[in-house]
Symmetry: C2
């Protein structure tokens, strides 16, 4: 007996231990799962997108499920130029023609466009039919959700599936979009779904947001192979409340996701550093001047992009255009395909173009961009500056064209009803700008090497101006101008490129670009979209006005406040109050005359409690008095009383009527309040809800307070 008892006890204590450990570790386990699944989803998407992108150019007849690179591997050819091999058939070849020639060009173009249109139409239709929330980048919405607003279904499983498939399709369609924003959304969906496995997180919105913050970090981590950048992006841009514990969890989640995608490693290439740059020379002091100039240009281009994009999105929202999302997507896809196919730089996908622009002209680089008049004597010799050949000038013209095309197309693309992000397009615009400026500087230094600013460095030989480095700085500046990120941007940039040595240059460009952008137009693209959609997002800026709580609270003078008394209202009174008003909750006071505050009760809880009481308690009637006190009322003749102390929140947050709104806004932000009660000498005067605060801020900034949506 005793033995059995002890065994049982041990079993129990083991079980208790596991339960306790499960509770303590559930957060870590949850982010572990989120990281693993995010990594897997991203890996599958990478493989799929690469296959479909290659499908636009040709097919592997022996094994149609292989993309070009894999197809060529299986052929065991050791030399193949520009990725083509005999196993891989381009569409003209399939049709029985040769690879070269005018007709082949036309057939290639035709199939390219056809597939693009097909992918885009599929993506847009999926979004339209199954998950309207799956469109766009999703970051503005996730910011809003993390600030405490709930959008039902925004992070559901349908959104997850449609967004993953749709993103794969729209990337393959060759549209001007990236996958970073949507990857953050996808990761957040995964975070949301997994948090339901752990009651501690699934049932508590505040706790769930911690998981979502970590998931957002994993999203950037897999999209860019930038785990640290992801954590900082979540911290700086996405999250609202980011305690140290969340920092550690995000870090872990991003680590796991990065590790999983590296292990899957779809193509055997080095996903860990996406745009790895091989150069590593120290920069010269003079480089700082063009870096600042690129920062200014980046801020300006960012602002142009934001203004243009907002104008178009507003037009789409309020005109008929919004009713034909699929048509819009198809039109933009067609235009993109037609315009981008002839230009060799736009025909490359954006990531390849960025890689090309970031790289330094070496001995093996045969692109027009590297058509310099120089002789390499040795693989390891420094890349000296040299006179540009005609190819470079041709390349510059094509790049300027590409820049204009991409800028306009991206303005129209971002915000369409397909999953679309804007990191890669912004980086690409910036890289083009930076490369052009870089070539300009290089030629200047080559032609006037005696000018004192170049004299020190460029006369010695060795590498003094590197256009690839300028492309990197330009990319950083434009992305900074568009999103107004600072530190997360820098970290992402050097996780992408490995250019740790150039941190100071990148920082200078990012800081300038942020300042210029903030001076030209107040908000970054995500905040602008939040305002456009009217989400109730309480920004992190300081509230700089001198109004008091008394000016903002409801009700205004001459109106009465809906309150419940603690021991004198009947069920009937309360039901009537609930019918007449629409508030989410009601303050409970000692008596209507004294208005001394006792607590706060939620509408939902009241409704539920009254319904339950009517069903469960004998003798309860509409005339029963509702008590919010614990004292047992004296026996009286009427129907039995209803005791509701347990649904009363005895610890509502209160402020006095003389509290400056600056403090009130601060409390809303930091404590994540939904409402606060306003008192004077202990007496209840009114209520301030989050909606009141948001409207008041809009009003003080001379904007229309009615643009704020709620519910």
């Amino acid at each position: 007996m005793r033995h059995r008892y002890i065994v049982k006890k041990i079993q129990y204590s083991v079980w208790d231990f596991i339960k306790g450990a499960h509770d303590a570790w559930s957060g870590w386990v949850c982010v572990l799962l989120v990281g693993v699944v995010t990594g897997c989803v991203a890996g599958v998407m990478d493989i799929g997108a690469s296959w479909m992108t290659d499908l636009k150019l040709g097919i592997c007849p022996q094994a149609f499920w292989l993309n070009r690179e894999q197809c060529c591997w299986s052929s065991n050819e050791t030399t193949f130029d520009s990725g083509n091999c005999s196993q891989w058939y381009t569409w003209p070849e399939i049709m029985g023609h040769s690879r070269e020639g005018g007709f082949a060009y036309f057939v290639s173009f035709f199939f390219y466009t056809l597939w693009a249109l097909f992918f885009a139409a599929l993506s847009a239709s999926l979004v339209k039919m199954f998950a309207p929330y799956a469109c766009g980048s999703g970051i503005p919405e996730i910011k809003t959700i993390l600030s405490g607003f709930i959008i039902r279904g925004y992070l559901g499983k349908w959104t997850l599936i449609v967004k993953s498939v749709g993103l794969m399709l729209s990337v393959s369609a060759g549209l001007c979009l990236g996958k970073e924003g949507p990857m953050v959304h996808i990761a957040s969906c995964i975070g949301n779904i997994f948090s339901y496995l752990f009651p501690k997180y699934g049932k508590n919105e505040a706790k769930k947001r911690e998981i979502l913050s970590a998931a957002a970090a994993a999203g950037v981590s897999v999209a860019f192979g930038a785990p640290i950048g992801g954590v900082l992006f979540s911290l700086e841009e996405v999250s609202y409340y980011f305690p140290l514990k969340t920092l550690w969890r995000s870090f872990f989640c991003a680590l796991i996701a990065a590790f999983v995608i590296r292990s899957i490693n779809p193509f055997g290439n080095e996903h860990s550093v996406l745009f790895y740059v091989k150069y590593n020379e120290p920069w010269i002091l003079f480089d700082l001047v063009p870096a600042l100039a690129l920062g200014i240009l980046g801020g300006a281009i960012g602002t142009v992009f934001i203004k243009g994009n907002l104008y178009w999105c507003r037009f789409r929202k309020f005109s008929k255009l919004g009713h034909y999302p699929v048509t819009e997507v198809l039109t933009v896809t067609l235009i993109t395909a037609v315009i981008s196919y002839p230009n060799p730089y736009t025909r490359l996908n954006m990531s390849q173009l960025i890689y090309l622009l970031f790289s330094q002209c070496g001995i093996s680089n045969s692109d027009d961009l590297c058509d310099y008049n120089r002789n390499f004597t040795n693989v390891n010799s420094a890349v000296e500056i040299a006179a540009a050949g005609p190819g470079v000038y041709r390349a510059i013209w094509l790049l300027i064209l590409a820049f204009i095309v991409y800028l306009i197309l991206t303005i129209f693309t971002f915000g369409m009803k397909v999953p679309c992000g804007l990191f890669i397009p912004s980086l690409c615009l910036g890289a083009i700008m930076g490369r052009i400026v870089g070539i300009g500087m290089e030629q200047l230094a080559y032609n006037y090497p005696e000018v004192w600013i170049f004299a020190d460095e460029c006369s010695k030989g060795g590498n003094c101006i590197n256009p690839g480095l300028y492309a990197m700085i330009g990319a950083c500046a434009v992305l900074g101008g568009v999103t107004r990120m600072t530190i997360s941007l820098i970290v992402i940039m050097f996780e992408l490129t490995g250019g740790v040595r150039y941190i100071v240059l990148l920082m200078a460009a990012a800081m300038t670009s942020k300042w210029v952008g903030d001076a030209l137009g107040r908000q970054g693209i995500y905040d602008a979209h939040i305002a456009l959609n009217g989400y109730p997002f309480l920004g992190k800026e300081e509230f700089a006005h001198t109004t008091l709580a008394a000016d903002v609270m409801q009700p205004k003078r001459n109106e009465t406040l809906s309150v419940i008394t603690q021991d004198s209202m009947t069920i009937d009174d309360i039901v009537n109050l609930l019918k007449e008003t629409e508030h989410n909750g009601y303050p409970v006071v000692v008596s209507k005359e004294s208005q001394y505050l006792v607590g706060f009760v939620l509408r939902r809880d009241l409704n539920l409690a009254i319904e339950n009481a009517k069903r469960m308690i004998d003798g309860i009637s509409v005339m029963s008095v509702v008590y919010f006190t614990s004292a047992t009322p004296a026996q009286s003749l009427g129907p039995p009383p209803l005791m509701l102390k347990k649904i009363l929140d005895m610890a509502p947050i209160t402020v006095t009527d003389q509290t400056p709104m600056e403090t009130v806004v601060d409390m809303f932000r930091k404590l994540g309040l939904r409402q606060t009660l306003v008192t004077h000498n202990g007496r209840l005067l009114g209520v301030i809800t989050k909606k009141d605060v948001l409207r008041h801020i809009k009003q003080m900034d001379n904007e229309d307070p009615n643009t704020v949506l709620f519910n």
Copy 2:
């Protein structure tokens, strides 16, 4: 006339504009100045420390102010081995002996020790005489200051001067210490001093803390050449409240400081990446296993270090030892010099040793560590694994000795009364450990290449196991174990080494090390020192108990609360109350009977107002009634009333007695409160001060609540 008026108006408006801009930009200007000055101070310190370190070995007779490297430059010799040249005289040479031989060794050793003792004695005396606050790393104190506690003089100009000079001396003395913590302290002093130039920051403690956070970032930025790491260190480890605006300012401040030190660039070397590693091969999956093992070891070593160091610091604090700081410093310096001189690895300074351990054995590396049986056929060929020669085994034994010596010495050194940080010693310990493990793994892989875990990678040739990389991971793990940093640690690591490619490995080691450390002993070294010194620091951990505000508030049952009534107490009553009690402030209520809360008044303001009134207002006497209301009291016969509404804080933060302490702690932390008032149904019940909260937390954690200092 009119013209003159307009001109004047324009002048005014220009002046107003400048004033407005100055106000808006003063924060940026302030951090700019802090960055510039921090960079300059760090540059000067680097130059000085390098000169003094070389002085221990010899002198440049032609120009004694040059260090060895500069001395050899001026001699124009192109070849000199191990940094020595004919212009540079070692001490035996000065004394007329040759460089080699037993006697020369003894003379060198003698001078080495003599100078070290001299530097250490000077440093300790300076600290003892002029600025007792200048000792230690300063990070625990800065954390406490940033959490809202004020330590007068801790960030003053004397501390700044003595800490800068003292740090230079104690680094030169060859003690087991680094300059990172003290650099953060120095930068914070600079931040504090410059904030007084801008009234907006100098007069507002909360605003000043924003400048201090930015300055802390600049401190790490110049100490390590790691601007991003500095910002993250300030965010993760040092700062308490870190809004986005502070993030951007810190970023800017760190950027400027990094730029200035790079421009000063004391020795023409590449300060921007301190321990730059040249290898860049992708890591193999198996590397993850030793990385995790190093993480575990790092966490364990960190804990051993913390426990040992705390034990010794406690002993110093409560024994006679604390009264002889200079003697203690001299003893430790002597022991350090005597023990470290014979071992070639400990004779190097720590930074050089770390650099050596991080590097890969190449064709030009002739150290014992690189005594492998392999032939390099080509400079660019991969470094294959090879059998270790006898030199490697000799090196391993010396490194193990060095590890033990450094671990013990650092435990005794950190906390002595000289400026001392522990980043470099921790990194050094970790690098030794990692290198040894790395060599072990390498030999394992070489001897058993057919084991499946190595089979894939190591059989192909090429670099499969790199002991230098392991040293880097080990360094990261031990520093993580000691400080419990995560993300800032990783960023600092790859700003130090440029090893962006190894992020996942570093992250795995840092995370494991943090977990192991947290499991073995709860606190990191800085938090442990805060607890040891009893600073009133409200940690960022969640409060996990279920107590209520009513359990914590003062007064307890049966005591009365000191309150002031709004319109019935005379000056005499108030003066008596101030004499009898020592509270920092008093709640003001409607009347003693009702206890309805009106506001809160500070002791300081009350004292001041009463004194002023006695001096300034005719007829005021001790019997004057003090009014905190705005209503004019009816004319009565007595002395004129004293109206004190303007010193009354009408917006005190209140909580109800049923509020869970979890919420209260959260409010204290996020809103930076010093006290909160506890009410029930509008009636005042008591007060909770920060001290009460800190004591309550200690009590709940079963620690002695009386260890918390206050004032």
